[in-house]
Every structure is written in structure tokens, then in C-alpha cells.
Symmetry: C2
Subunit: 341 residues, 2 copies
Amino acid sequence: MTPKQGEIMARLIRGETMESLHRGHFIVVDGDGVLIRSAGDTGFFTYMRSAAKPLQALPFLTSGTADEYGFSDEEIALACASHSGEARHTRVAELMLQRTELSEAYLRCGTHLPFYEKEAERMMRAGEYPTQLHNNCSGKHAAMLATAKHIGADLATYDALENPLQQQILSAVAMMTEIPVSEIAIGIDGCSAPNFAMPLSAMAKSFANLVSPPAGFSEETQKACGRIVSAMVKFPELIGGSERLDTMLMQAAEGQIISKVGAEGVWLCGILPSEKYPKGASIALKIEDGDDKRARPVVAVELLRQFGILSSEDLKDISPMPVKNRRGEIVGHVEATIKIV
Amino acid sequence: MTPKQGEIMARLIRGETMESLHRGHFIVVDGDGVLIRSAGDTGFFTYMRSAAKPLQALPFLTSGTADEYGFSDEEIALACASHSGEARHTRVAELMLQRTELSEAYLRCGTHLPFYEKEAERMMRAGEYPTQLHNNCSGKHAAMLATAKHIGADLATYDALENPLQQQILSAVAMMTEIPVSEIAIGIDGCSAPNFAMPLSAMAKSFANLVSPPAGFSEETQKACGRIVSAMVKFPELIGGSERLDTMLMQAAEGQIISKVGAEGVWLCGILPSEKYPKGASIALKIEDGDDKRARPVVAVELLRQFGILSSEDLKDISPMPVKNRRGEIVGHVEATIKIV
């Protein structure tokens, strides 16, 4: 099925001339799920990828796991993170495993060098090799392991779709996105866990529900949503890390938003309830070519500026984003081309 | 100016579901410049980037520089290369500088770690740092320096558009692309040298002229085109390197093509004269979002298969391209969606 055409959302200008362009889709809804703005195809069907992490963390709280083992807000934040593998992240991931008396060997996320390039280079020059704790998803996996242990699910297959833990997560995703499980397509994420494909509009809905859980949700779910949002707002540096989009956006927005990127150009943002939006609001963005290095950041910053969350002075080095040559001289820039207000 | 819509050329499938897609533009012309096939916008206006290197090398030959200093075919190949910074590349770049009694310090391309990741990691683990010789453009810059010296141009500003060397290169690009200098937009490349933006159709024309120079070209130019093409065909491993697209395509095509990638999703391919195309042919491709890691390779391989240059057995690991999780398990693939024959 060919999706509707994406709208041009960002372009790279070298000298005076456009060199490349990025198309995408976004939707903004208020806390009741009412459409505020959109561009491209709001039904664009794709994976949430790591933007699903705050939803994947719900059973960790609703099952009583976090309370049983005394997990802290920092650890809950890391469960929702795509962290940069810096010491401040791996240390928290290790503590999470220690709480449940499990070791790094139980993780099934695999290894990769830290996302933060300076740390990756430091490690290589120091003769170090990454462990699974450095995997950007190690907090999510540590929370999954803890939950599996708490509910008595098999630890060796905690990442299998058939595992009761993953079935609980799938149900939570369906509840939050308000689409039936049968309409969610399942694929395997980079970290081996099941991931969820659905229309972009459903992703927006899930973050609106997260920042402003409807009265129909159980008390446990409402409390879990609240704790996830407050943990993310309290520890933005754990959600990403140095020079990472989620961290920079949340720090600049000073408590007004939760931000979560997903691989392949996905970005979900929950806008906390305010005078303008008493039940909050949310944004779901997909750069259709999967870009996450330049189109996603410039568009995300520009969207938050146009919604009055950020000012034109905030994150000026991110949007427009300078393009430099190998001598460090600026030879162009990447700019957002969206206009929504 | 908004370009015409790109055609969907590649898509990433995770599980059973499309996750991302890439649009692009291509044009195929025969040796007389007659259109054979196209998709998207053949007038898409963008930079050639490193795909211009075989053209930028022309004054190096037509000025008599290469003959005067006795440059070898290997060195001419490296002048046309975006090499991977492996020892076999930096060694040749160093020899090129030695021929003209110049040192690495004269280069103005800047430094970066080798494109070949295994070599980059090896260097870091060995405590080594890259020099300008490791820059993928060091061969081009060494040839520029040699030519500047030979024609008596200022060596310190050899990369400035005003330098007589760069003016000679600009004239060569205009001649080969058959568009006036006034219609070529200039920007600064990643390596600090001037680069050239023009319609995709003009890029295709330039490679058709390269593999089959028209009778109207001077004898020096015709000879220079021939020597550049034969040097590239003879030393495909110098044009890119280990696991690099140009090298893999030229090796698989066994002398039937010259292949040159450019940053931001550009690929130019010259098909040498054969029974089917007595004056040769050429392909110009631009992935509009600038992708060069997955859409460009799968589409390039598929185009060459559909033109009968490669078989379906060639480069099976490149197209379709497996997508793996962090444990090395295949969880999806990137596939070309173009059909031209």
C-alpha cells in the first residue's frame, strides 16, 4: 500500500542552493484527542520504535514491580530512555539489575558503542569494549527483566512476544493508543524486543493519554502514567544524554513537555496540561526516509517554537543546523520548512 | 523552487511492515545523450559532490601535469576517488605529494577518521589520529596541488574558486556537462573545494561524454577522458575501498562501468561502449533525502541488474540489504522498488 505523499519538512541548503530535502508527516492533537494541526498523512503506518518506551514501561509500574523492589524515579526515567551510554547511564542500568539480583548477562538487548561519540572514542582509545549496559535500551531491558521476575515469567525469553510480560506490554500499548491489538503490526526492534507499528495518529493519541490519562483508565494506570511523566520531566539527562535531542528539548522546555525519539525519524512529544491546553496535547512526527540526524531535530524544534513551547532563542544551534566542511567552516545549513501557525 | 516529486525508489521493511521509504530521481542516457529511461525529476537541481571528481581530474591531465611529473594510473585513480583511508590509499596519496615535493601540510581538505570503520576503530585502539592523507578526498587534493604548481597558480589558495586552477576545473565541468558556467551553482564541498550544482540530466551527460568523448572535444581532452576511465577501471579498489559501493560495483561489473558516488545520495555511472550501446551510456541517480547508506546502494545495484550489467546473483548481500538487530539477527531488509524494464 503506497502511503499518501509526505510534505517537505526540511531541506539542506549548501551555499545558496538546495541540495537535499526530507518529507514527513505529523499530527498534533489535544488531550481529548481532537486534531489541532497535521501535515502529510496522519494515517502513515510505521513503527513507534523507541518512542514506545514510556508505554512499554507501564506494566513495570502497574504490576507493582517498581514498588516491590523500590525502583527510584531515576531508574524509571532510564526505563523510558534511549540513553547515550555515558557513565551516568550505565551506572543506573547496573543498579536496576542489582535491585533484582540479576546480572548484565540476563540482558538480551545486545551491545553497541555508546551513542555519544566522544564517549565511544574515549572507550576505544582506553582499550575498553561496550557491554550490554551501554546499549541505549539497557534501562528498558532491565525494567523488563524486573517485571518478568515479579510476575513469574520466564527470564530467558523475556523478549519473546509470547512471554506474558510482552503480552502485558502489548495490551498496554493497545490501551494507550486506543487501537485493538489485532490492528497493531509487530516487528523486532534493534534491541530484540517486539515493537509496534500503527498509524501516526494512534501514536499521538498514546502520548496525549500519557500526559492526561482519561478517567476511564484504572487508578493504577493513571498513577503509572503520572509517575512516568514526572520521572521523565525530572531527569531529562537520563532520557538521552549529552547533545541528544530529547534531553535538549526537555531541558529547554523546562518541564512543559516529555520528549521521546524513536529510530527511523520518529518523534513523540507530550505537552503537559497548561492554561492553553487544560488536558495537555501531543505531537507525533515521522520523517518518512527515517532521518534522525538533521530533519527530525530541526522540525521538532521548529514545531515546539510554533506552538510557543520554545522561543526563537532556544536551541539556535539545532535549528537551523549548520553544515560544516572538514575544516570546521560553515558551508550550509539544514532548515525546517514547515509553517503551522 | 519546489522540485517535482521524487519517485519511491527504496523502502525499509521490518517484519512484514514498511517502516520508512526513500524517494529519488534518475536518468539514463546513451552516449549521444539520448534519453533511455528516467524516473522522478530529471531536472532535479543539486550538487554533484564527489561524483564530480573524474571531471575535476581533467585539468590535471590536459595541462600536462600528470605527464610532467610522471603520475601513474594508480595515482590518477586516487585523484578520482572517495577512498576509505586504508593504508593502500594513504600510501598512494603520499606518493602523489612526493612527486611534486609537497607535504601533507599543503593539503586543505581537512581531516576525518577513515570511512572504513574497521580501520577507524583500529587507529583509535592503536592510539593513532587521522591526518589529511586519510581524508577521502586526499588524492583529488594532491592532484589539485600538483596542477596548481605546474600551471604556476598560488598553492596556498589552490581551493579558492578564484584560483586559476579552480577556474580551469569549472570550465572542464561546463564542457563535460554541456551547460554554461553561468548556469552552474557553486557551493563549498566537505573538503573545502568548490563544488557544482546543476540538473541531474547534465550530470548524466558528463559521464556519457567521459566514457565516449565526442569528436568535437580536443585531442587532449579525449585522451584525458580515456586515461581517467581506464585508470578507474584498472584500480576499482582505489576509488572506494573495502565494503565501498563504487569498488564493489566496478569489481562485480568486471570492466563494464565506471562508478562514482557523491555525498547526499548522488551516484553517477558510466557504461563503457559495448555491442548494445556502441557509444556507451550513463546513469545519474539522486536519492532526494541524501541517503547514501541503504537506498543508494540497493537502487544502484538494481539499476545495473535491470540493464543487464549485473546478474541477480551479483551483490546479493547489498540488494536487498539485510537489517539486523544488535544481536546480529536479521529483522528486516531494505529493497529497491524501481522497475525500469
